[in-house]
């Protein structure tokens, strides 16, 4: 039966059991000596390593410098996806001929996983910043375009009629009617887009980068330092989470302002 939610005491007790149980199993496995500590670090080893990485450079930079480097690439790719995706989505929603022209090509390319663009990224940009930005763009672009387009197309027809009656030009109709109406959908798309973009970034940095958290992990893997790799994973998870939380607040704020 779907029982009622657990009383807080029981909830926290079980949560604690789950968390500590996991840590205990992990620690025992690490301490048992089956493998070297470099291979399977104990939980506290990972924590210490994390601290170390904040002060000692590894693979060229300290941890937060790597994170910043990754964020910069992500920011550029994401911004590009938004700058292209939103206007294009609006234009496609307003001008049907454009929709017919672009949609088939878009659908064909969409199915290619962003990571598959790595070879071309490497070919065209080497290890420059263009490579990761391209891959992030490929990951972040589809949700932005799709959500903008859908949001604009689903605008209640009465607003379009009102806009036409009031003599709005195509440009005004798109910017002052379609765009604001589509904002809730666009913002939802931005969250998905940011998530996919961040994931694509990680993939890109495993291969075509010379700095960043992905690069950090690759170097950690090369020197068989599991603790370093895990620190990288932790950093990636945390940053991804923060990005999502921020966008979620933005989404809530906008919904509140609209009276939804």
């Amino acid at each position: 039966m779907i029982a009622a939610p657990l009383p807080p005491q029981q909830f926290w007790r079980l949560t604690l059991i789950g968390a500590t149980g996991f840590l205990v199993v992990w620690s025992v496995a690490a301490l048992s000596g089956i493998t070297s500590r470099a291979f399977l670090p104990a939980p506290w080893d990972v924590v210490t390593r994390f601290g170390q990485l904040l002060v000692q450079p590894f693979a060229g930079f300290v941890l937060h410098e790597h994170v910043l480097s990754s964020l910069k690439r992500f920011g550029m790719g994401f911004a590009l996806a938004v700058a292209v995706g939103i206007p294009l989505g609006l234009l496609m929603a307003w001008f049907r001929w454009l929709d017919r022209l672009i949609t088939p090509a878009f659908e064909a390319v969409r199915f290619v996983a962003p990571i598959a663009w790595v070879p071309f990224a490497a070919l065209w940009f080497g290890t420059g910043i263009g490579g990761p930005v391209l891959i992030i763009f490929m990951g972040a672009f589809p949700p932005v375009l799709i959500n903008t387009y859908r949001g604009a197309r689903q605008v209640d027809i009465k607003y379009i009629e009102a806009a036409r009656m009031l003599g709005a030009s195509s440009l005004r109709a798109m910017t002052e009617v379609l765009l604001p109406a589509a904002v809730p959908s666009i913002v939802a798309g931005l969250r998905i887009s940011a998530g996919l973009g961040w994931q694509s970034l990680v993939g890109a940095e495993l291969i075509v980068a010379s700095s960043g958290v992905g690069y950090l992990m690759v170097k950690g893997q090369a020197s068989v330092s599991t603790a370093t790799v895990m620190c990288g994973m932790l950093a990636i998870g945390v940053v991804g989470l923060v990005i999502d939380v921020v966008l979620r607040r933005v989404q809530l704020l906008i919904e509140k302002k609209r009276g939804i």
Binding site: K158, Y159, E161, A162, A163, R164, M165, L166, G167, A168, S169, R172, E176, V177, P180, A181, V183, R258, G259
Partner: protein
């Protein structure tokens, strides 16, 4: 001359491969500055008539002309007040009213003057920066009316504008519209299914039949209104008590009742 002319207007539409005749042989002239109401049973095509004058729909036969020009597309010269208000939820009251003025390339000072004028006229002072969702239905429709009037349009087209409001608000709005119409006479085509509303507001009433919609009868209200001096009474309930009002209302009711007895097509 800002008149509306329906010349032998027909409207046929296709659904699932079958043809339906929505409107048949509509011939009507709304004179300059005349307030004409169209009443009729649901689905008789009265809203369609208005939308054709607005340019949102087109006749399949005949033509609709406004100010002696054939209507092809919507525009601010034929302002519409929608039943569902259709205010932009993301714009303030002020910006909503201003929207159409920008299309007309009206200078900022003139815009401000006009908007302020209608905000006062419609009793919207203090709400200029409010958003539609913060306003009641009646207030929102006031904004929609202001938005239409501020364009100084050739004709005003109103599609059951008070249909979405509760009964008390409706009455208040009717009184306000009468005041506005007497003060600022314009060519108005007003669609409603509420008979009393039509008798109270209009100069002439067009009664339509069920689908296929044709004109059953056109009733002249203005002459009776002026002869019996309805405007001497400011409150709507006083007007509605007058024998001349009751007589007219009953006449229209009877015409509509006839429609209910007829077989559906």
């Amino acid at each position: 001359m800002a008149n509306i002319q329906f010349q032998s207007v027909q409207r046929v539409f296709k659904q699932n491969g079958r043809e339906f005749v929505a409107l048949k042989d509509i011939d009507l002239v709304v004179q300059d500055r005349e307030f004409v109401a169209i009443v009729g049973p649901s689905g008789c095509g009265k809203t369609t008539c208005m939308r054709m004058a607005a340019g949102l729909e087109h006749p399949t036969g005949g033509q609709v002309m406004v100010a002696n020009e054939v209507v092809t597309a919507p525009g601010p010269d034929r302002a519409v007040v929608f039943q569902a208000f259709a205010l932009f939820p993301w714009k303030t009251v002020w910006d909503n009213i201003e929207f159409g003025l920008k299309s007309l390339d009206v200078a900022p000072d003139e815009r401000k003057r006009r908007i302020t004028q209608y905000i006062e006229l419609m009793g919207l002072q203090g709400y200029e920066q409010a958003y539609p969702h913060q306003l009641s239905g009646g207030m929102q429709q006031r904004v929609a009316i202001a938005r239409a009037y501020v364009l100084d349009p050739k004709v005003l087209l109103m599609d059951e504008p008070f249909g979405a409001l509760d009964a008390q608000t409706r009455v208040v709005m009717q009184e306000e519209l009468v005041r506005l119409a007497r003060k600022n006479p314009r060519t108005v085509l007003f669609i409603t299914h509420a008979v009393e509303e039509a008798v109270y507001l209009a100069d002439r009433i067009v009664v339509m039949t069920r689908r296929p919609g044709t004109i059953r009868e056109i009733i002249d209200v203005k002459s009776i209104r002026e002869a019996e001096n309805w405007d001497a009474h400011t409150r709507i309930e006083d007007v509605m008590d007058l024998p001349s009002f009751v007589h007219l209302r009953t006449h229209v009711w009877k015409l509509l009742r006839e429609q209910q007895g007829e077989d559906p097509h």
